[in-house]
């Protein structure tokens, strides 16, 4: 592909050079062919620190084309630093259209959430992954964990869940909850809340995972089985919230606690900002929603 006419002529389209993109695409294809398997790749230095999504950015840069529409979320929100910067980055280096609307995006790069609005076939969800190895904290030797994956020895994963129940009376893992993909590889779904795990199961969208520091790419192809690990007498369950979103009154969505003042005032609102705004536009009102649509900063604190 030739360089696109952008205002910064010194960068190739989508920042990475074509050889690097080919290398990453090969890793992605291999990952798709072996769902859940961690494919090593030659991760590049990116113009951002590790931990800010260097893996996700490289995956996005390798698959994005001029016609794509990109959405970037950070903990569900489109308007936080990480999301805004990565969106601006691709606007600049790839000159692509960006959006905050889940339904309009063709590529969604995410840090630790899956949008509430159901994904459709043709969409690609790119996860930023800090630690791709689900067995890391149980078995520190990478040589050993690779062997365990190869031989499908996953008893140790249940040791972690056992420890949870022994200490807390229930499986207390709430994020990075291990899943088994297509009945074979145990995978870390990146630190998404376990609330989102069921959404990965047989999702029509392609899910790609990039870990920049750890130099691993893995994938869950569309309509793939993704099962959360559990015990027969302690089955997997997602978080529930005893009140709806304070702004849009949505139920059965993942909520964030927002502190309103230093007198203990707080509210629970949708972590998916796009979903929340859409619902408010449709006329849904939570108990703390202002009468007219104003920015959250102008709101009255809860009593």
């Amino acid at each position: 592909m030739t360089a696109q006419p952008t205002d910064i002529a010194t960068y190739n389209f989508a920042y990475l050079d074509e050889q690097t993109k080919r290398m990453i695409r090969r890793a992605i294809l291999k990952g798709i062919a072996i769902p859940g398997y961690q494919v090593p790749f030659a991760s590049r230095e990116m113009p951002m620190p590790y931990g800010w999504g260097t893996g996700g950015v490289q995956v996005t840069a390798s698959i994005i084309g001029p016609d794509d529409v990109l959405k970037v979320i950070d903990q569900g929100a489109d308007d936080t630093t990480n999301a805004v910067s990565i969106r601006a980055f691709f606007k600049k280096v790839a000159n692509v259209a960006v959006t905050t609307e889940t339904a309009k995006a063709t590529i969604i790069q995410t840090r630790h959430r899956i949008p509430e609005y159901p994904l459709t076939a043709g969409q690609v969800l790119v996860y930023q992954v800090p630690i791709p190895e689900p067995l890391r904290f149980l078995e520190p030797r990478e040589t050993e964990t690779r062997k365990m994956h190869a031989l499908e020895e996953y008893g140790l994963m249940h040791v972690k869940l056992y420890e949870d129940i022994a200490r807390h009376g229930r499986i207390a893992t709430t994020y990075a909850y291990p899943v088994k993909v297509e009945g074979r590889y145990v995978m870390d779904p990146s630190p998404t809340p376990k609330f989102d795990n069921p959404k990965m199961h047989r999702s029509p969208a392609l899910q790609l995972f990039g870990a920049g520091r750890e130099k691993r790419i893995y994938a869950v192809p569309p309509f793939t089985e993704v099962v959360s690990l559990d015990f027969e007498d302690h089955p997997f369950e997602v978080q529930t919230f005893d009140q709806p979103c304070a702004l849009c009154a949505a139920e059965n969505v993942y909520l964030d606690e927002v502190i309103l003042d230093d007198h203990g005032g707080h509210m629970f609102v949708c972590s998916d900002t796009d979903h929340c705004e859409k619902r408010r536009e449709e006329g849904h009102r939570g108990h703390l929603a202002p009468e007219t649509h104003v920015a959250p900063g102008n709101m009255e604190p809860a009593q």
Binding site: L138, K147, G155, L156, V159, A166, R167, D233
Partner: protein, 258 residues
């Protein structure tokens, strides 16, 4: 007892470059039999044990193991997956240093339960009940089940390691100096416990030790090793009371009398 051995070892050798680890070792091990391998440091006992337990591949020689279906399988021709499966179901390995055989950062209960979960047990209640049962069998109080082994004394750690290995009902246990580094009273209790368990469960065991007293207490048969070779083997009482090889005579006469 059956009329076939559990393990057949023939002409097993392990060389580290020009150095000899163990040389031309052959023996049969029968079900329920405890074999002690004694000798001084560097005599090749641990090399032999590591080869037998497939933690190390020998330079030459064969070892075949009678699987639960009665068929003999050549250990060094099995796939790694099969060997590792054998390791965590039908076999046990008790390390001299319990930290090598335990997961020090997970609770005692999870340590005992790990093998069960590894073979597909997915019922928390049952796993925990089995763990409680095994802790009591190795004389660890039930209320210590959620403590990490780091909070345990040396003797307790060793007993926990034994429970962790025996929980899947193995038929063959390898022990590398199981009482090394423990003080004598703790050692005596551990030996007592081991002897009870081995008899109750009908375990076959290969115990590597430099302590002849341990060999006398635990084993029916013993092999004396020197410089990688077996210099004498026979019934434990015979070897200790009537040593024939000069080296065995030296070894037996070197025991300190109190």
């Amino acid at each position: 007892m059956t009329d076939e051995p559990l393990l057949r070892v023939s002409a097993l050798s392990k060389f580290y470059g020009p150095r000899v680890g163990c040389d031309n070792v052959s023996f049969d091990l029968w079900p329920g039999e405890v074999l002690a391998v004694v000798g001084e440091s560097g005599s090749g006992k641990t090399t032999l044990l590591n080869c037998l337990s497939t933690r190390l591949l020998p330079s030459s020689g064969t070892a075949s193991y009678r699987m639960r279906d009665g068929q003999f399988r050549e250990l060094y021709r099995m796939s790694e997956a099969e060997r590792r499966f054998l390791m965590r179901t039908d076999w046990g390995f008790v390390h001299q240093n319990p930290a090598d055989g335990l997961r020090m950062t997970v609770s005692a209960g999870a340590n005992v339960g790990e093998r069960l979960m590894a073979v597909g047990d997915r019922h928390y209640g049952k796993i925990r009940a089995t763990a409680v049962d095994w802790l009591s069998r190795v004389e660890i109080d039930e209320d210590r089940i959620d403590d990490e082994p780091r909070a345990f004394s040396g003797g307790m750690r060793q007993r926990l390691q034994i429970a962790r290995n025996l929980v899947t009902g193995p038929r063959l246990v390898f022990m590398d100096e199981p009482t090394g580094g423990l003080d004598v009273s703790v050692q005596a209790r551990l030996l007592d416990l081991l002897r009870g368990l081995v008899t109750d469960l009908g375990l076959a065991a290969i115990v590597v030790t430099h302590d002849l007293a341990v060999a006398r207490l635990l084993s029916q048969r013993m092999m004396v090793m020197k410089d990688g070779r077996v210099v004498e083997s026979g019934l434990t009482d015979r070897v200790l009371d009537d040593p024939r090889a000069p080296y065995t005579q030296l070894l037996v006469s070197s025991i300190l009398q109190v």
